[in-house]
C-alpha cells in the first residue's frame, strides 16, 4: 500500500466493504435481477388472461422494487467502489486496469437498465391497453434482460478475484473474463436471484391483496411455483460452483463460514443451513398445497433466511480466497506476490511513502521507556512497527476492534507479556499455521519492529486513527533503499 492508510479501528475495514456489498447483492438479486422477470411475467400473464388483478399486483411490487433499487441499490453499487478504493486501493485499481472495458460495457448496460426501469414504471398507467400495453410488456422483458446482463458482467470480476485463471500468464481481458469460476458462479447466482425474488414477492403479496380476496392465494401459489422451479437450479449451480473452487481455498472453509473462534462448529452450522433451506422450501411448498394460504408473518422467516444465507455466502466468498485479494496475484494486504522478494530484501518500509505518527496514548503505553538517546531509538522502532502494522496488517485487522490483533494475541499468549521474544516466532510462521494469512512481507528487522508495536496492545486499548482522521506524514526513511535516493535527488 503506497497510499495514506484509511483505517477503521473499531468496525474494521472489511466490515465497511461487507456491509455495503452485501446490501447491494441483496437488492440486486432479490429486487432487480430476479424480480424484474417475475414482474414482467405477471404483467404478461395478466394481459393474456385479461385479468387486471395481476397487472395491479405486478405494478405494486414493481413500485417497491423501483424505490429500493434506484436508491439503496444504485448507491450501494457505487458505494462498493468507494469503500474498496478506501480499504484496498491497489486491488480495485488493479481490477479496473484489467476489467476496464467490462466495466465500461456494464456501465452502458446499467444506463440502459435505469432508463428502462424509469420508462417501465412511469409508463405503466399510461400504456394501459392495446398495442401500448403489449409494448409495455416487452419493455418489462427488456428490463429483465438488461438487469441480468449487468450481473453477468460483474460476476466475472468476482470469479477473477478468486481464480484469475489464464490471466496470470496471458494478461488479456478475455483471459481474465473467462476465468474458471465465472460460468459456475453465474449458473448459481441466476437461479438464486430468481428464488430470492420469489420469496420477496411472496412476502409482499399480502400487503397488496386483501386476505379475503381469493386472488391472494392464486398469486401466492403462482409465485411459490416460480420459487420452487428455481430451487433445484440453485442447488445444481451451487454444486458446480463448489466443484471449481480451488482445493487450497477449501482449507479456509471453516474459518470463512464460522470465524476462527467458532470454526469447530462448522458441521453444526451446515446442519443449520440445511434445515433453514428446508424450512424455506416447506413454506413455499405449503403456499402451493394449502387451501387457506399461509399467514402473512410466516413469510418473514423465508425472507430473513434467504437474506441471511445470501449474505453469509458473500462473506464466505470474500474470505475463502485468502490470503489473496486477487488469487495468486495480490495478497489481502494489497501487495503483489511478485513484490515479496523485493520487500523481503530491501524492507517493506523502503517502499512506503506515508506514515501515521504515533499517538500520545501509544507512546504512553510503551512497556519500557528508556531515557536519553535510547528513548529516541525506541520511539523510532515503535513508529516503524506501527508503519508496518498499518501497511501489512490493517487491511484485515484492527488493534482492539473487530478481528482485533489484541484478541488473537490474547488467545495465543494469554496474560504473559507479549514481548517480541514470545511472539516473533509465531508472527514469522503465521502463514504456515493459518493458510489464510499472507506471509510477512518485510525484513526480519521489520518483523521485530512489528512485534514491538504489537506488544503495546496489551497495555493500550486506544483506537488507532487512520489517515482520514490523523492525516499522514512523509515516512522517515531509515530503512529506505539507498538506491532510491538518486531518484529523489531529481525531484
Amino acid at each position: 500500500m503506497d497510499f495514506p492508510v484509511f483505517h477503521l479501528d473499531i468496525l474494521g475495514n472489511r466490515a465497511l466493504v461487507a456491509i455495503i456489498a452485501i446490501l447491494h447483492v441483496l437488492v440486486n438479486h432479490g429486487l432487480a435481477v430476479g424480480l424484474m422477470p417475475l414482474i414482467a411475467l405477471m404483467e404478461w400473464h395478466g394481459v393474456r388472461k385479461n385479468d387486471p388483478r395481476w397487472d395491479n399486483l405486478a405494478y405494486r411490487i414493481l413500485f417497491v422494487a423501483f424505490i429500493i433499487t434506484t436508491t439503496v441499490g444504485a448507491l450501494t453499487g457505487v458505494g462498493i467502489w468507494f469503500s474498496v478504493s478506501l480499504v484496498n486501493p491497489y486491488s480495485i485499481g488493479s481490477l479496473i486496469r484489467v476489467f476496464f472495458w467490462a466495466w465500461f460495457v456494464e456501465w452502458l448496460v446499467f444506463i440502459t437498465e435505469v432508463c428502462l426501469i424509469l420508462a417501465y414504471t412511469l409508463t405503466w398507467k399510461k400504456w394501459a391497453s392495446g398495442e401500448a400495453k403489449r409494448r409495455h410488456v416487452r419493455l418489462g422483458f427488456a428490463l429483465a434482460t438488461f438487469s441480468w446482463i449487468t450481473m453477468a458482467i460483474i460476476v466475472s470480476i468476482l470469479g477473477f478475484m478468486m481464480d484469475p485463471g489464464n490471466w496470470l500468464s496471458e494478461n488479456t481481458l478475455l483471459a481474465g473474463f473467462t476465468n474458471p469460476i465465472y460460468l459456475p458462479q453465474l449458473a448459481f447466482r441466476t437461479p438464486l436471484a430468481a428464488a430470492m425474488a420469489g420469496i420477496v414477492a411472496l412476502f409482499l403479496v399480502p400487503f397488496f391483496v386483501d386476505r379475503h380476496d381469493p386472488f391472494r392465494l392464486e398469486a401466492s401459489r403462482a409465485i411459490a411455483l416460480w420459487t420452487l422451479i428455481a430451487s433445484p437450479f440453485v442447488l445444481l449451480g451451487g454444486w458446480w460452483y463448489y466443484s471449481v473452487i480451488p482445493g487450497t481455498m477449501m482449507e479456509n472453509l471453516a474459518v470463512s463460514a464460522m470465524t476462527l473462534q467458532f470454526m469447530g462448529w462448522l458441521n453444526d452450522f451446515l446442519w443449520i443451513v440445511a434445515l433453514t433451506v428446508l424450512a424455506v422450501l416447506i413454506t413455499v411448498q405449503l403456499t402451493i398445497v394449502s387451501r387457506r394460504g399461509v399467514p402473512r408473518f410466516a413469510y418473514l422467516l423465508p425472507l430473513l433466511a434467504v437474506f441471511w444465507l445470501t449474505g453469509h455466502f458473500e462473506r464466505v466468498r470474500e474470505f475463502i480466497r485468502k490470503p489473496y485479494v486477487i488469487g495468486r496475484y495480490m495478497y489481502a494486504n494489497g501487495l503483489r506476490v511478485e513484490d515479496y522478494p523485493l520487500l523481503r530484501r530491501d524492507g517493506l518500509l523502503a517502499y512506503t511513502t506515508y506514515s501515521i505518527p504515533l499517538s500520545p496514548p501509544e507512546i504512553t503505553a510503551m512497556p519500557d521507556r528508556p531515557t536519553g538517546t535510547g528513548y529516541q531509538g525506541a520511539i523510532e522502532r515503535l513508529q516503524r512497527g506501527k508503519d508496518v502494522f498499518m501497511t501489512a496488517c490493517s487491511r484485515c485487522h484492527t488493534t482492539n476492534g473487530v478481528n482485533a490483533v489484541a484478541t488473537h494475541m490474547q488467545r495465543m499468549f494469554g496474560d504473559r507479556p507479549w514481548s517480541p521474544s514470545l511472539t516473533l516466532d509465531y508472527l514469522s510462521n503465521m502463514h504456515n499455521a493459518q493458510p489464510y494469512m499472507p506471509p510477512f512481507p518485510g525484513t526480519q528487522e521489520e518483523l521485530f519492529d512489528l512485534a514491538t508495536y504489537l506488544e503495546l496492545l496489551q497495555r493500550s486499548a486506544t483506537a488507532v486513527a487512520g489517515a482520514q482522521q490523523a492525516g499522514s506524514v512523509l515516512a522517515t526513511p531509515p530503512g529506505r533503499s539507498t538506491a532510491l535516493r538518486p531518484l529523489e535527488g531529481r525531484q
Binding site: 424505490i67 434506484t70 436508491t71 503483489r336 523485493l342 530484501r345 492525516g471 525531484q491
Partner: protein, 354 residues
Amino acid sequence: MNGVPIPRDIPLPMPAPEGLLVVVLVIFFLMHIAFVNFMVGGALLSFYYELRGLRERRYDWLAHEIASTITANKSIAVVLGVGPLLAINTLYTVYFYTANALTGTFWISIVPLVVVAFLLTYAHKYLWHSLERHKLLHLSLIGLACLIFLFIPLIFLTNVNLMLLPRQWVEVRGFFSALTLPNVLPRYAHFVIACPAMTGLLLVWLFRRRSTAQLAGTGFTRDELLRTGYRWALWPTMAQFVVGPLALFTLPATPLVDPAILGVFGASILLALWMCLVLYVETNRAAERIGKSFASVCALMVAVLVLMGAGRHLHREAAIAPHRELVRQKTEDYVRRAEEAARASLPAEAPRSP
C-alpha cells in the same frame, strides 16, 4: 519537490487510450453534473415554491411540477456519474485514491447521505397529496433533502481539489482541514449558483410546449412560467461573473500559466455573456414570442459547459504534470527492482510477470 510525497502507481498498463478516457471523463461528467444541477436546483426550487404556495395556492402546483422531475433526474445523474468515476479511477488513480483516503469518513458517508436524500425526494413526491394537511412535515422532507444535497457537493469538491495538491497530502488532517484549502468554497459557490440556473432552463423546457388548455386552472399562463424559468437562468448566471473568476483565480497553481487554459475559460466567459444577453431578450419578449430562442440558449449553455469542462481538464493536467512524471519514474523504478529481486530469488520464489 522537497517534502512532497511521490507514491508509486498501479504497475499495470492503462487499459484504454488516454484520449478516450479523457473524453469519457469530461463529456460524461458534464452530463452527470447537468443532471445533478437539475436535481439539486429542482429540490431547492420545489422547496421555495412550496413555501410560497402556503400563501398563494398556485405556487404549490408549480412546486409539485418541479418535484415530479427530481426523482427521474436523480436516477440519470447517478447512472451518468459511473462512467466518469471509472475514468477518473483509471486516469488519476494515485491522485483520486489519495484524496479519498484523506477525507475517507466523509467520502464514504456520501453513500448513506445520498440514499437518505433520494428516499426523502421520493417521499416528498409520492406523499404530496397524503400530507396535504401536514404541510410542515411535507416541507421538512424536501427541506432536509435540500440540506443533504447542499452538503454532498462540498465533499466532492474537497476531494477533487485535494487531489491536485500533492504537497497538501502530508499536511491536511481530515475532511475539515481539506475543506479550508483555497478554491473549495469558491467552486462550491460556483456549483450551487449553477443549480437554479440550470433548473430554470429545465422549467422552460418543461412548460414551453404546454398549451393554454393544459395550464388552465393552474393559475399560471405559459409565458409567465417561461419568464419565471428564464429569470432563474439569467440572474444566477449573472452572479457567476463574480463567483466564476474567483473560482478560476483560486485554482491550484500550475507551474506555468498556460495560455490555452486562459483562452478556453475566456471563451466560455464571452459565450456566457452572449447567453445572458439572449436570456435577457427572451425574458422581456411578448407572450406570443417568448421561447423562440430556447434552442439558442441551450446551445450556448452547452458550449459554455463544454468549454468550462475542457478548461478544467487542461488545468488539472497542467497542475499535476510534473508530479505525475515523478510518480511514473518511481513506478517504473519499483517494477524494475521487483523484477530483479524476483529473478534473484529464483528458484525459491518463482516470479511471474503480470
